[in-house]
Each structure stands twice: as structure tokens, then as C-alpha cells.
């Protein structure tokens, strides 16, 4: 192993990859967020729209769970768009969205454990994203890692 070149002040070390935030592995993360944006949006839309059908839980019966579904969908949409853009503002918006997502999935996950009677209707972040293979629990940590690796 050859001796590595010493980097003066870690400026280069802080940006190990020269490729922008929305390229390479970043594209995977954005794809995952995009898929969640679409599926959470579709789910919230289906849950909240008052289709007159038997057995469907209407919004008035479960306002909490369905509002949380809609909120989660909005967070995913914002996070996807912000992650896909390269400006410094987009970086901050993405950071806020990913942090909200992280606290949301942990908070709502804990809440569904403590008071399951409030959540007879499943919501996206219920049970730490159990319905979605716990990917909603992992995704914000991956997103956060990626954002800090690519500071503006």
C-alpha cells in the first residue's frame, strides 16, 4: 500500500465523490423516495376520497390515521423533489423533509404501539412502516447519510 497524499484541511476528504448529489447512488435513493411518494400519495388519495363503498373506512371514522397518511405522502413528495435538485436551497429543504420523515416514522411507529386502538386503519408510518417492509424506517437514515456526504 502506497502512502496516501496528505490532504491539507480535509476539504477534499469532505467531498469524496465529485459526482453531484442526484447522480450515481443518489439516483437510487431518489428512486426509492419517488416510489414512496407515488405509493403513499395513491394510498392517501384512495383512503381519503369518499368512494361510496361497503367496508371502506371513511375519513370521518379515522381522521387521525388518514391525515397521517396524507401528511406522509406530502413529506415524500417534497423530499423526492428536493433530493433531485442540486441547489443549496434544495439541500436544506431535503434535509428538513428527511428529518420530518425520520421523526414521523419513529413517532407514528411508537404511537401505533402505545395506542393501537387509534389506528385500526393502517397508515404509512404505522408500526414503523411494517406494511412496507420497514423500508420507511431505513430510508430517512440513508437519505440523511447521503445529504451529509454531499453538503452544498
Amino acid at each position: 500500500m502506497g502512502k496516501r497524499t496528505v490532504v491539507p484541511d480535509g476539504a477534499a476528504a469532505a467531498t469524496p465523490a465529485k459526482s453531484p448529489r442526484n447522480r450515481g447512488v443518489g439516483m437510487l435513493i431518489i428512486t426509492a423516495y419517488g416510489i414512496f411518494a407515488v405509493s403513499a400519495f395513491a394510498r392517501a388519495f384512495y383512503q381519503i376520497t369518499p368512494f361510496p363503498q361497503e367496508g371502506k373506512v371513511q375519513f370521518v371514522d379515522a381522521p387521525l390515521a388518514l391525515s397521517l397518511s396524507a401528511f406522509a405522502a406530502a413529506v415524500y413528495v417534497v423530499a423526492t423533489l428536493a433530493l433531485a435538485r442540486t441547489s443549496a436551497t434544495a439541500w436544506r429543504v431535503a434535509l428538513v423533509a428527511v428529518l420530518i420523515e425520520m421523526f414521523g416514522v419513529i413517532g407514528v411507529g411508537t404511537w401505533t404501539l402505545i395506542q393501537p386502538e387509534l389506528f385500526e386503519v393502517a397508515t404509512v408510518w404505522g408500526g414503523f412502516g411494517r406494511d412496507y417492509g420497514y423500508i420507511p424506517l431505513v430510508l430517512p437514515f440513508v437519505g440523511l447519510f447521503w445529504l451529509f456526504r454531499h453538503r452544498p
Partner: protein, 121 residues
């Protein structure tokens, strides 16, 4: 388990495996990855026509038709959307991006089978 579900599972699994392999061996979006996405899209079209003809002839499904068609339409957009996104940057990672389609479509077909027949398995 229906034959259609089995077929879908095989196509999705093959597509994901092909895309993973191509991520390892190709530094650009591979033809085989793209063709595997087209195979999934084709399968979903056939699945939709089959479901549409069957329901038009009066067959009922266990769940809600609205939810079922919502799933099919979303699933149909997925290979197209992911393909366009994967082509934004033509690198090794395009193949890995495309590998998501097989995984997600499998889950969606699983849900559609549940809505259609009451159970997927």
C-alpha cells in the same frame, strides 16, 4: 395461487436478477436490463387486459374494483417512469435503479391478487 401470479413472480424475479447482474458487469444501462423492464410492462398490459375482459364479462372480484384499477394504472406507469429516470444518467447505477421495478411490481401484483381473489397464495 394463479398461473398469472406465478408468471408475474417469475418475470419480476428474473428482471431484478438481470438488473443486479448488469450492475456488476456493465458500466452503462444494459440492453438486457431495459428489455427486462419492457417484459414487466408487457406482462402488466396482459394482466390488465385479462382482468378487464374478465370483469367486463361480469366476473366479480373480492375487493374493490377502484382500488384494483388504481394499482394496475400505478404499476403500468412504474416501468416507464423508472426507465426515463434511469436514462437521466447513463451509468452502472442505471441498472440498479431499474432493478427496483421488479421488486415493487411484484408487491403490487401480490396486492392486486389479494383484491382480485381474496388471497394471493
Amino acid at each position: 395461487m394463479t398461473a398469472m401470479f406465478l408468471l408475474g413472480t417469475v418475470i419480476c424475479a428474473l428482471s431484478t436478477l438481470i438488473c443486479w447482474t448488469m450492475t456488476a458487469v456493465r458500466a452503462h444501462p444494459a440492453d438486457s436490463s431495459i428489455i427486462s423492464l419492457a417484459a414487466i410492462e408487457l406482462y402488466l398490459i396482459v394482466y390488465g387486459i385479462y382482468a378487464g375482459v374478465r370483469q367486463a364479462m361480469g366476473a366479480s372480484i373480492a375487493g374493490e374494483a377502484w382500488e384494483f384499477w388504481g394499482y394496475i394504472l400505478t404499476a403500468l406507469m412504474l416501468p416507464v417512469g423508472v426507465f426515463i429516470w434511469a436514462m437521466v444518467d447513463k451509468t452502472r447505477w442505471s441498472n440498479l435503479v431499474m432493478s427496483f421495478v421488479g421488486l415493487v411490481v411484484f408487491v403490487m401484483v401480490y396486492r392486486m391478487e389479494e383484491i382480485w381473489w381474496g388471497s394471493a397464495l
